[in-house]
Symmetry: C2
Amino acid sequence: MSKLKRSARLVDMTQYLLDNPHRLIPLATFVERYRSAKSSVSEDLAIIRDVLAGRQLGELVTVAGAAGGVKYVPKIGEAEARAFIEDVCRQLDQPERILPGGYLYMSDLLGRPEVVGRIGRMFASAFADRELDVVMTVETKGIPIAHATAHFLNVPVVIVRRDNRVTEGSSVNINYVSGSSKRIRTMSLARRALKENARVLIVDDFMRAGGTIKGMMDLLQEFNATVRGVGVFVESGDVGEGEHLVTDYLSLAKLAGVDPVTKKIHIEPGNYFTKLSEKKGADSDDH
Amino acid sequence: MSKLKRSARLVDMTQYLLDNPHRLIPLATFVERYRSAKSSVSEDLAIIRDVLAGRQLGELVTVAGAAGGVKYVPKIGEAEARAFIEDVCRQLDQPERILPGGYLYMSDLLGRPEVVGRIGRMFASAFADRELDVVMTVETKGIPIAHATAHFLNVPVVIVRRDNRVTEGSSVNINYVSGSSKRIRTMSLARRALKENARVLIVDDFMRAGGTIKGMMDLLQEFNATVRGVGVFVESGDVGEGEHLVTDYLSLAKLAGVDPVTKKIHIEPGNYFTKLSEKKGADSDDH
C-alpha cells in the first residue's frame, strides 16, 4: 500500500486494532504498513488510545522492548454495561416468555448479534487478565456467547457435546448429576479438543444449581486443565440454601422468580458489578 | 462528549461504523455526536470510505434524502478470500484429521474466532443484497458460522434443534431423511422463532447430499418463510449423480475425497468464486 496520510492511517489503524483484539502487534507492523516513521505511528496510537478510553471501549496497552508492541484490550464501560443489563432485564420481564416448568424463553435474545456481542464484551472485560487458553461451553445455547467472548479475548472455543459424535473422534465422556432435576446426564469432549494444562474460561447461558458447569469442571480434570473463571448470562435464584454446586461465578442477570399463575417474572442484575467492585477493591489493596 | 478534533472523530466514526454493519445511520447522528458541521462529517466519511475500499473491507453506502444516511456493508476482497480458502484447505489436508467413516475433524477450525469471522464475512459479502430477515442453522457446528454471518448482516440467528426442548416452548417438528445415511431424523423449531414470511439465509458447516438443509427448507415452509440463499463451509464431493437434494448453494471448500487406507485427503476450493463471478456476469448483463 502506498504511503497514507495521517487521516487515512488513523482509520486503517483503528480498523486493524479492533479486528485484532488481545493480540500484541509490533510497532514495526504499522511502520511497514504505512511506510511512516515510528514517531508518527506512536502519535497515531496515542490518538486512538484516547478515543477508545474516552468511549470506555478498552485499553491500548503498550509493551516496551524488542518483543514489544501494542495490544488492544477490549473493555466495556460500567455505565454502558449497566444500561445493557437493565435493558436485558426489561426484555426478559415479559409474561409471554414463561414456559411450562417455570422456564423462560430467551432464544430470541441469544439470537441477536448485538446482544451476544455485548455479553461477550462483558465477559472478556471481566476476565481480561486471567491468561486464558480457551473458552469452553456445552451445546447449544451457550455457543454464541462463548464465541463472542473468545473473539474479544483472542482464544479458541471448545464445545462440550451432550453425546458422542462421530465427527469428534475419540472422546472423554463423563456422567454428571443435573443439579436441579437430579437426573444423570452425559457430556463428551473430543480428546484432541484441549491441550494438556489448558487454562479455561467456562461460559453458559443459564445456571440453576450449577450441575452442568460442575460437570464441565469434572470433565476438565480429565484433561489436567484449570478453570480460570466461570461466567453465566442468567442465573436462577430458585436454588435452596447449600444447593449451589458452583460458588465462584459471574452472572449478568438473575432470575429471582417466575410465577406461572400470576405470570409475574422477577429478574434483576446478577453479581457482575458486585464482583467487579470487590475485585477493584482487592486490586487496590495490593498496591 | 465534547467537540472532537478531526483525527479523534475519524477514529470514533470508524469504530462506530464497524460496530454497526448493515445499519443505516443518519448523518444527524454523527453531527450531534461530534457537534460538527454536516460538511465535516461528509468529508470524514469520504476518508473512511476510501480506506475501507482500498482494503476491500466493504462499502460505505450513502442513501440520500430525509430518511437517508450512511451504511457500512462489509465485504471481503477476492484476494483475501482466496488466500483464506487456500489456507483452510491446507489445514484440512492433514491425515490425522481422518475419522472413522471418512469424516474429517474440523471442530478446531470452527472454534477459532478468526476463522469463523472470515467465513461469516465471506457469506455476508456474497449474500449482502438478498434483503434477509434472519440467518438459520441447525445445531451444533453451524452455530458459530451463523452468528458470524448474522453479525456482519445485522440480522438475528434462528437455531433449529435436533429434538424438542423445554426451553423453546411450542415448536414445529418435522421428520426428514438424511440424504447420505437414509435414516429418518427429526428437527424442531420454536413457533415463536420466526415471523410470518421471513426471508432466510441457511448456513451450515458441512453438506453431503443436502438432506439436513432440505429438512430446514421443508421446516421453513411450515412458517411460510422463503429461502433466499444457502451457504455451507465445506461440501462433500462424495455424492452420486442425481443424489443432490439441494442444488443452489454456495460452498467455501469441497472435500473431494478421503481415503482412510492411504490417509490421503483431497480438498479444494468450493464453488464460491465460480458462483460469484457468474453473478457478476449476470449483474453486468442487466446494465
